[in-house]
């Protein structure tokens, strides 16, 4: 198992699950990838669900967290307040685009990188061009 787990927090359950599907295919099951997205089948995020997902990550893992917009970030911060210090300190919110950032992070994590390298890889996704110039 890799050193870093990936957690997706999106307003949309389907967006979160879809991204997890994509990341699992890319990492061949070597990385713990989970989504805590949507609330009761509706659009929104649930801090308690986020807190539970962080607690459920393998104990030896650090966790890179990717949010979509606005209140998903507030939900992550609220989740951290609800968690014991140990779990709080192993989860880090990554300032990166949701899809491209999570893909870069998952690939890096699958190579047994540490959290810092995973975060740096995700943040490089800000400058990623899709089309050749």
């Amino acid at each position: 198992m890799a050193n870093v787990a990936i957690l997706i927090v999106s307003h949309s359950e389907r967006l979160g699950e879809g991204l997890v599907e994509l990341l699992e295919q890319l990492t061949l099951g070597k990385v713990h990838v989970k989504s805590a997205s949507g609330i009761g089948g509706q659009l929104g995020t649930n801090p308690l669900q986020v807190a539970q997902a962080i607690e459920a990550c393998p104990p030896a893992n650090q966790i890179a967290v990717f949010c979509d917009v606005g209140s998903s970030i507030m939900s992550f911060e609220t989740a951290c307040d609800l968690l014991p210090d140990l779990d709080q300190s192993r989860a880090r919110l990554v300032d990166a685009p949701l899809v491209e950032g999570a893909i870069a992070a998952a690939v890096e994590a699958s190579l047994d990188a540490d959290l810092e390298s995973v975060v740096q890889a995700a943040m490089r996704a800000h400058g990623l061009r899709k089309l050749s110039q």
Partner: protein, 215 residues
């Protein structure tokens, strides 16, 4: 404020969120994502269900139940924001079964601090802070006993005064100048929360006709 008054406050908020759900959704729809009324209605319904289902011995425990119900059921930003407010209120009131006016005001200041640290908004950003800040300031500024009726008026006017502001937080900020002209829905729901707080404490509150904001 004792436990009976607190429970009555939360029940009244719930009833009024149901009543104003369409209005708050509409305000939010103009400048955000359109679910503030539905979210608040769902959150406070959950909160009253939780209050019904569990015995409580202290005001702090009641506040915590409400805060956690809001955090886990609202879904949007108002969940963590109102949730943090009630959690801080609970910490402030602690093991008391009843609190005096001074403690009510101190608790509201703690709740405002919770909202500010969670949302990082300042006065003028077109958020609920625009209502909470002047209302709590007026209550804390009283030399003798707090003037709750004046506080309600301040809250109502502050909510109405968010209409010409340009949003700088949340999804409304994407609209920039186009967010002008509509009252911030979180400010309107906050004014309603203060109306019902004062009704629970002293009764005879003069409620603003919020429905007139509906198009």
């Amino acid at each position: 404020m004792d436990e009976t008054a607190f429970i009555s406050w939360i029940r009244q908020i719930s009833a009024r969120m149901t009543e104003h759900r369409t209005l708050l959704d509409e305000l939010d729809n103009r400048i955000g994502d359109g679910d503030h009324g539905s979210n608040m209605d769902r959150g406070f319904q959950r909160a009253t269900e939780k209050l019904d289902g569990e015995p409580h011995e202290t005001l702090g425990a009641l506040c915590r139940t409400v805060g956690m119900a809001l955090i886990s059921s609202v879904g949007g930003a108002s969940g963590p924001l109102y949730g943090s407010a009630f959690l801080k209120l609970g910490t402030s009131w602690g093991a008391s079964a009843e609190v005096d006016d001074a403690a009510v005001c101190e608790g509201l200041q703690a709740a405002l601090d919770g909202i500010r640290s969670r949302g990082k908004a300042e006065v003028g950003d077109k958020t609920m802070v625009d209502v909470w800040q002047p209302t709590v300031a007026l209550l804390l500024g009283s030399v003798t006993s707090p003037d709750y009726s004046a506080a309600v008026e301040v809250a109502q006017q502050a909510a109405l005064a968010t209409a010409p502001m340009e949003a700088r937080k949340g999804r409304a900020a994407y609209l920039g100048l186009r967010s002008k002209g509509t009252c911030d829905p979180g400010s309107v729901s906050s004014a309603i929360v203060f109306e019902e707080l004062v009704e629970a404490i002293q009764g005879k509150v003069r409620r603003w006709p919020w429905q007139t904001l509906q198009s």
